[in-house]
Symmetry: C3
Subunit: 262 residues, 3 copies
Amino acid sequence: MKIALLDQLREQNPIVFNISNFVTVQDVANGLNALGASPIMSEEVAEADEMVGLAGAVCLNLGAFTLPQVKQITTVGQLANRQHKPLVIDPVAVGAVRFRAQVATELLQTIDPDVIRGNAGEIAALAGLDWQAKGIDAGQGSGDLVTIAQTCARKHHCVVILSGPTDVITDGQRTVQVDNGTPLFQTHVGSGDMLSSIVAAFCAVEPDTFEAAQTACLVFAAIGQRVAGTAERMGAGTFITKLMDALQFTTVAEIEAVAAYK
Amino acid sequence: MKIALLDQLREQNPIVFNISNFVTVQDVANGLNALGASPIMSEEVAEADEMVGLAGAVCLNLGAFTLPQVKQITTVGQLANRQHKPLVIDPVAVGAVRFRAQVATELLQTIDPDVIRGNAGEIAALAGLDWQAKGIDAGQGSGDLVTIAQTCARKHHCVVILSGPTDVITDGQRTVQVDNGTPLFQTHVGSGDMLSSIVAAFCAVEPDTFEAAQTACLVFAAIGQRVAGTAERMGAGTFITKLMDALQFTTVAEIEAVAAYK
Amino acid sequence: MKIALLDQLREQNPIVFNISNFVTVQDVANGLNALGASPIMSEEVAEADEMVGLAGAVCLNLGAFTLPQVKQITTVGQLANRQHKPLVIDPVAVGAVRFRAQVATELLQTIDPDVIRGNAGEIAALAGLDWQAKGIDAGQGSGDLVTIAQTCARKHHCVVILSGPTDVITDGQRTVQVDNGTPLFQTHVGSGDMLSSIVAAFCAVEPDTFEAAQTACLVFAAIGQRVAGTAERMGAGTFITKLMDALQFTTVAEIEAVAAYK
């Protein structure tokens, strides 16, 4: 776990090109910015090639996607592959909505992500496993989370992050579990989307995608945990405000002091 | 007034499907989430049927709407009617912009809302009454607010919420006025949109729409009032942060202690 | 410098019609609202004429723009010219993305802005000068900032605001530099967009566009500086919360006490 990658990220200030969903886009931009990356967003295909060229990594968020957006997502994903830019995909709600599972499955036949990040329901759906999901959140279901993540990783030949109380990060061979975090992440709608883009930011500064992915998860989870620890009972509004501050100020040493993974 | 519905909502965590406007969508999602509901958003017609099926209630926000969005709003509204899901409409700016009044009037000929929530100018416009409106806010005008709300409710055969310093809730027969609230709601642009979606959340757990609507108004207004009461002079930024916290933590008993309605 | 214009703005509560980018739209709306203006947003061409008619000023933000949006931006800009409403343009990322520079240049052949506001890279691009830009932020480059701003102003026959640690405001003849501000503005993604719309709000209450533009810059920069001064180390989350409060409450006298310009 190379937590010092955070310093590298802050020094290099990598540009992350995001196709974001309209619900959480502002938080994603501000989260990247606070951490030390440089967000760019665009919905126009005509500038996609140039945007990918500017970027150190690309993050495609499938939340709230229309068919024109899916077309653009496909183009941007293919451009990222062609330009060898790290590509992160966040398959929002594919566990809950059949239409999305179908579109995402088709999408994954035309582009090769380096990382897929989702909750248990989403990762299970892309792994072709049975899982119950509800709304945008992971539901209940049987099945070992590590097995689900590994199956998805082997199927799509990429790193998979299965987010939850414990994050599972795997490339199908290597597997790490990050135990840091706080339930407060679930009180704020944009937390997962923010993490996906932060994973892309780490991929922009570390060529080993598995290393980048696990570090991003640990950094984000540890920062959230530290924020949650500053008050006995914290609400969703205070949490997001303090999280933005902490993304900016938390040091590598502070994260190392609480890091919990196996 | 069944304020205990709030506990029921928190227990059931109903899914609310929102067609939201892009200005306030993040606050609407976070407000629903903080209160204890589960927001889903989508702009794609192809998944509308499935989204409505997942949802316990549907909220259509007419703010910032393009003609393709109006088409989707119409489809989603019809699906909600067909699937017998409670349907809330927020007719943003129909009191100020003739184009919107015209489109909204046409829309109401093809779908049957269970609740319409707007300010005085918006409700007057849908009631076919004269009223002055300015921008997205209610303007000044003559006419008794209760009469305006009742006229609109009878015309559209649904519950009407006329929001303002005093909220008027009526189904054309029964009428309640909620006196809770705070002028701070007007300092934050998303307050009204948030309320509309929260009304939908209550409709998902209470079959009597009038009961659900009045309770939603009282709960939201009372929570805002309590937040405002914690400081002598509170600004728009602090208010929205604390409002999110309070949506999450305020108890039924705390609301009952300040409830003011007739 | 007519700082008292702020009182006039708060009294008149002018409507500002914004074509905003989807990344920062909520902050722009809330910033305008907090300061004392009345924001309206719309993405529908069919209501553009009416929206412009309602507005005291128009602000076109070129961030995250699709070709349909550019078409709408063009229409709204032409309507603003025709209806003699002050028109502010924020040419987001035209310094970094060639496609945007090209589209913006074409746009400026069909509409006449009263004010263009951007960072050094953006203003240089529209001035036809060489400059290095990175992402949405201004990059490094040679060339005197005052010369760049004046060249752009003379080329486009309008007031130009070149934002940075020192803001340069010029109509090609008169030039003012505002030294107020804080690096914290850069920690929050929506700061520049917010300023552009606030410039429009001042243009709605002051016919001398140069006067309006310089006052808007000073008011915004001074308010941010005062917020930053309230804590030794402030993060992005706390800053935006406190900035919204301060936009609402800061008085003309408080701004005059810190005003620094030449």
